[in-house]
Symmetry: D3
Subunit: 130 residues, 6 copies
């Protein structure tokens, strides 16, 4: 059984081609990563995901680098290798140093530990936090 194969750029047509072109222009890249080529099997999902991601990740009260690091933290917690690697690469382009990534990882590790300690000890929410 073949599961899903990426849609190569030279096979892209219509909505898929338009989104691919937009991704390359906005991201200033020349090759479409596998994530987009694979979800392009469903052009509606491709378009909706790209539009949402582009809007959410743009500069706001948080700068794009902080947003990328939050993305990485979620991806590490969910054990998504592709997501860790692709968003780390994106974050490095935006200025994340190796030292910053290591500190991020230390926080992610610790948060996963204390999240479980809270559950394990069934800690009650403090009055001042309600």
């Amino acid at each position: 059984m073949t599961y899903f194969t990426p849609i190569e750029e030279n096979k892209a047509k219509g909505k898929v081609k338009r989104v691919f072109d937009n991704i390359k222009k906005e991201r200033k890249i020349t090759t479409i990563p596998n994530f987009w080529k694979t979800i392009a099997n469903d052009p509606d999902t491709l378009e909706r995901t790209w539009n949402s991601l582009r809007d959410i990740m743009k500069k706001g009260s948080l700068d794009p680098l902080t947003k990328e690091m939050i993305y990485i933290a979620v991806s590490m917690t969910n054990s998504c290798e592709y997501c860790i690697r692709s968003h780390s690469a994106a974050a490095k382009k935006k200025g994340m140093t190796d030292k910053m990534l290591k500190e991020l990882i230390a926080v992610v590790g610790m948060a996963n530990e204390t999240n479980r300690l809270v559950e394990a000890y069934q800690v009650e929410v403090d009055e001042f936090l309600k």
Copy 2:
């Protein structure tokens, strides 16, 4: 069955008292939150967790606020209510505005969606990411 009850400050002795005093001094707070009071049932876990957390969350290449936001992102992904509330309160003290929190949440939601899309489509890691 009583599960674990928090160790109140006036009952704290020895190692537990020393850690409680250190938390209040370092955090500049006057009351110990339930998390610390509850894990104080195991003084070794209390001491080790506090020492680790204090070291990990201090200013480094990442500033303390960014670290708090990473902590919140993990806690949201793990559905830990106590952790979301306590680290949001801590982040607000360090300057997180409501607008920043909302943007953080949007990133967390999106990352959880695309993490699953990657799994669902079984996206292969690109050569340039290996």
Copy 3:
């Protein structure tokens, strides 16, 4: 260290052989998949899992295809590659088209996003839902 190796069909004896024969007959297949061959290292787990799965997945108020799609949705949320691939293959045999799978994935992605939004915003259960 060798972890667990699959029990090949020509090595199957007793309880394992009986379950393998039953799987091939019920599922109308000629080769036992790795899942069953590997958990056959524990014949009791093999037998119990097969009996439960066969009973749960048979036609009831829900048809077998809908049940397979629910299985896939859980497996995607848990990031289980083997489970995604094997249950997608099973669902395709039962009539799932590629278009149906893509719609299923879109729902799974969206549900994972809104599940986290609910936690992140700490949404209260509405009175009419209690």
Copy 4:
């Protein structure tokens, strides 16, 4: 600390009001559920989430009821009480009987068990599934 409070309908303005009106019209309901009222704290997230959800959940190759049941299966796997309750209510409106829900739950339980068996035994993907 107040975390987020729902935006009541009589306080809704601009984008939030337009989305609320659209939800009530499309869903044929007279009251906005807490999920929408709470994420309305971020009007962009409200609008994007509603648009995505409306598009994804509409009739396609899969009927709306099947999509709701997939949503429930993900929500149970992620332990999201609000999501389980609200999508079960929505599914019941679309024809899900109690018997169907019980069968759905049995599948979700079983899938969570075998997903872990696959990991625990480190089952290799069969050649015919690649």
Copy 5:
């Protein structure tokens, strides 16, 4: 909407009554806990779950207390409050002291941290572990 209400013992009939009687006899208890009363809404799930649980949790190469502690560790990782509380109560009956529970929790917390460090650093499996 009423979701599921527990089946009280005086309402139990047929298969449900037989399973309830068996649980009380085997577990040497006089009252059926909510878990069994609630899943009794689906008598097949009740019977299958009880039979599986009884077989899996009985003395084997591992003693029943060790099995209960493994159950607790999984339940803490999955943040299942009911499961943590009920299996801790069961483990205490079988001899688990508070000190043992605290050590168990420390291991669970640490394992959740290092599991994420492994993902975050993308640690390769050593040759000697393959």
Copy 6:
């Protein structure tokens, strides 16, 4: 992009060398596993993680083998292949037989199923468990 490469023992200096030496001595091993070599990219994380792990996993009210089995149960629930393999190897050194591992897996599988049944049926905590 190169992500993180393990720090080989002949490149280890200062804090990293001291921790590596301590690991080899305490664990009575001659080669440092990839986990430690990879997190050695952050010497502080290496030192803190090793100190915590060594303290937590030592004999207490629970023996080291039981602790390893709890570690494995968490790692299976989190789908961490490296962690499953390395802690299974460690547990085998401490006396875990294949039969014990299979029983452990059966408990882990069952716990993951009933954890979800509890959520799916929204089981209320019994009075006697509060």
